[in-house]
């Protein structure tokens, strides 16, 4: 002890060993910590604000006012170049209730273009299959469970059933394509392919994930739709089959990547034990590696479903956008996400239609949140336990 002190010429006391308080350190740590909470805050804010905006859907509003607003909003000149226009000065300060502020938030700007004031429905020839109007139903909450989605009419009806049917149909078709292809590809990459090939396959397929969905949608609209129509000879060019096939392209990289990770995470000892017992390569892959990674594959499929369920641009461009509830895969459908994308630009702020669109958004968000939590559970708890429990 004495010699130590002599060497360093310094006495360590409890006081000198205590961490010094430095303001910059303290500040940096607190700042970094609070920024890190941003992701949590965003999730909570999304939940709160999307749900808050959907409240108008739960308030029954007399039909008359809504119609008036729609007319007045429709007649407004739409110009967004300058803020000094008469229209801008008349703007209400807050958007409450049924004030005619729809024009404010339209994303389109009408400059020299003449032909743009038509909605997707009016242009798209495949979208004309709307259910006929029946005057007895009302734009109220109870109509959410009806079979008619007809938001812009004398008697607006907001039946979500056809939208749900459409979304589920497209999701099912997409997963029927995507899941087997992606899982098989992942199996090849992790179990059969030599190491050098694997190094190439993975990044290549991940490149597909980088394709913007609007590009996939455009490809589906221009190329796949025509191709499938020639092959199958159905009537409606844009339908849930084309949309589902296109969305499979968006889901494949997700399912592939997660499945591949799950398959690679299976301990080498499993494979080696199986091979040592005389099983062939494919037997090991199918009867040992695949079952061990089941929770991971399940999670991958869940996340793939989530991707397809909320996909907007491909649905808008390739599914035909007609709110039909039929089970025929070759008929047009309108998905939940596409409905928001197509109609939000044309609604009156704060009215029922607006609220219902946000309500659809809340449903999508909650559904996705649940799927993600489930997938998390499967990967975290089941997969880890399965591999560690047996491996140990």
């Amino acid at each position: 002890m004495n010699s130590d002190q002599a060497k360093s010429g310094y006495t360590f006391t409890a006081e000198s060993l205590r961490k010094k308080f430095r303001f910059s350190e303290f500040f940096a740590e607190k700042l970094i910590t609070s920024v890190a909470f941003l992701s949590i805050a965003v999730i909570i804010l999304i939940f709160f604000f999307v749900f808050r905006e959907s409240l108008p859907a739960f308030k029954h509003r007399p039909k008359g006012t809504t119609e008036e607003n729609r007319v007045s909003a429709g007649n407004k000149p739409e110009s967004y170049g300058s803020n000094e226009s008469a229209e801008a000065l008349q703007k209400p300060e807050t958007y409450t209730g049924a004030e005619p502020a729809a024009a404010v938030n339209k994303p389109e700007t009408y400059g020299e273009v003449k032909d743009t004031s038509v909605s997707a429905d009016e242009v798209n020839p495949d979208a004309k299959f709307r259910t006929s109007e029946s005057p007895d139903s009302e734009g109220s909450l109870s109509s959410l469970f009806s079979n008619e989605w007809f938001p812009v009419s004398e008697n607006p009806r907001y039946g979500l059933i056809p939208l749900f049917v459409g979304t589920l149909k497209v999701t099912l078709i997409a997963m029927l394509f995507a899941a087997p292809i992606a899982i098989l590809a992942a199996l090849f990459s992790s179990a059969f392919a030599p190491a050098w090939l694997r190094e190439w396959i993975k990044p290549a397929i991940e490149l597909l994930a980088g394709f913007p969905s609007v590009v996939i949608g455009f490809f589906a609209l221009m190329v796949m739709a025509t191709f499938f129509q020639n092959v199958f000879g159905y009537e409606t060019r844009l339908n849930s089959f084309v949309g589902g096939a296109a969305m499979a392209l968006a889901a494949i990289p997700i399912i592939f990547t997660i499945t591949e990770d799950a398959l690679t995470a299976v301990p080498r000892t499993y494979t080696e034990a199986s091979l040592a017992l005389g099983a062939s390569k494919w037997q090991t892959a199918v009867f040992v590696i695949l079952p061990a990674a089941t929770p991971g594959i399940f999670a991958a499929v869940l996340l793939g479903i989530g991707r397809v369920f909320g996909e907007t641009m491909i649905a808008l461009m390739a599914t035909g956008n007609a709110a039909l509830s039929s089970l025929n895969p070759f008929e047009s459908v309108r998905t939940l996400a596409a409905t928001i994308g197509a109609e939000m630009a044309e609604v009156v702020f704060g009215d029922m239609h607006y609220g219902v669109l946000f309500l659809i958004g809340s449903i999508l968000f909650i559904f996705n949140f649940t799927l993600n939590a489930l997938a998390e559970f499967y990967v975290k708890v089941r997969l880890v336990r399965k591999i560690q429990g047996r491996g140990a």
Partner: protein
């Protein structure tokens, strides 16, 4: 029995190999079809001129310009926040603490939220809450911020790309050897000094990868900006963050579904798609290359 096994094995191996080939073929088909459809129209003039004749002719310069502005403002917001979150997760938080777990869960959730939800959130939060508030406080009730514009579109996009940045940067920070941190701390540097002088410089390639991936993602997404700032046609370029902007992806969407002359403008659509695809493809390719080099370093 042997033969049967061989047949099944062969079938499974072939099927799985074919799946890979099919996916790669689709990627190549999309690339080739877009290149063939768009290459004739794709000239320097097309890239640098304004649309003309009611979008029937002319170029896509405003859409390119708008997309560039969008990703720049988006990166300014997303990259610092993403980097700081990644630093927190790797340097400050304990791996098993509930805070770190919750943040990780939130980041993963954020990564899987459908992009249209971000659009709704941008409308409900940025425009109708923050924007209206800003107008009331700073503009005396005059309308300036409570409408779709570049700032709100970019911030919405920044939220969407935040997880991309976080994941990339975190991966890069983990490749900085622990010995370097310990050496720095042993020399008397504080934790923050170590992060500033050792960890961040050591993971700069990861921050770059994250930025590139985020830009690639932000340039291609359309749904979040549908109601938060994208415009179909603007006669002038946006000059401030409170202006609306044109966007490549939105341009493709509107031209191919909402215009009345879809067939006549087909070359323009293909060329625009080609531009967008080349942009995102090259960005992603760059990121993949940097990343694979990074992973080699990790091994």
């Amino acid at each position: 029995m042997r033969l049967k096994n061989k047949i099944i094995g062969g079938a499974i191996t072939t099927a799985s190999a074919l799946s890979v080939v099919l996916i790669l073929a689709i990627i190549i088909i999309i690339l080739v079809v877009t290149i063939i459809g768009g290459k004739d129209k794709l000239t320097w003039e097309f890239l640098t001129s304004f649309p003309a004749d009611g979008m029937m002719k002319g170029g896509i310069f405003p859409a390119i310009y708008g997309t560039a502005l969008l990703v720049i403002v988006m990166s300014i917001a997303a990259v610092p926040f993403g980097t700081i979150t990644a630093i927190y997760l790797t340097e400050y938080a304990h791996e098993k603490s509930w805070i770190a777990q919750t943040i990780r869960f939130a980041v993963r959730t954020l990564a899987t939220v459908p992009s249209i939800i971000f659009g709704l959130f941008g409308l409900g939060f940025f425009i109708k809450f923050v924007g209206v508030g800003m107008d009331n406080w700073f503009m005396g009730g005059q309308l300036r911020w409570a409408q779709p514009n570049l700032l709100w579109g970019s911030l919405t996009m920044a939220l969407l790309t935040l997880p991309v940045v976080i994941v990339s940067v975190e991966e890069a920070i983990r490749t900085v050897p622990r010995e370097l941190r310990e050496a720095s701390l042993a020399l008397g540097a504080t934790k923050w000094q170590t992060i500033k002088k050792v960890v961040i410089p050591g993971s700069i390639s990861g921050i770059m990868t994250g930025t590139i991936l985020a830009v690639g993602r932000g340039a291609g997404e359309v749904a979040p900006i549908l109601f938060t700032g994208a415009a179909y046609y603007l006669a002038t370029l946006p000059t401030s963050v409170s202006d609306q902007f044109m966007n490549l992806g939105y341009h493709i969407y509107v031209m191919s579904t909402q215009s009345s002359n879809v067939d006549q403008t087909l070359p323009i659509q293909f060329a625009t798609t080609l531009v967008l695809l080349m942009l995102t493809f090259s960005l992603n390719l760059t990121a993949v290359l940097i990343r694979s080099r990074l992973r080699r370093r990790l091994k």
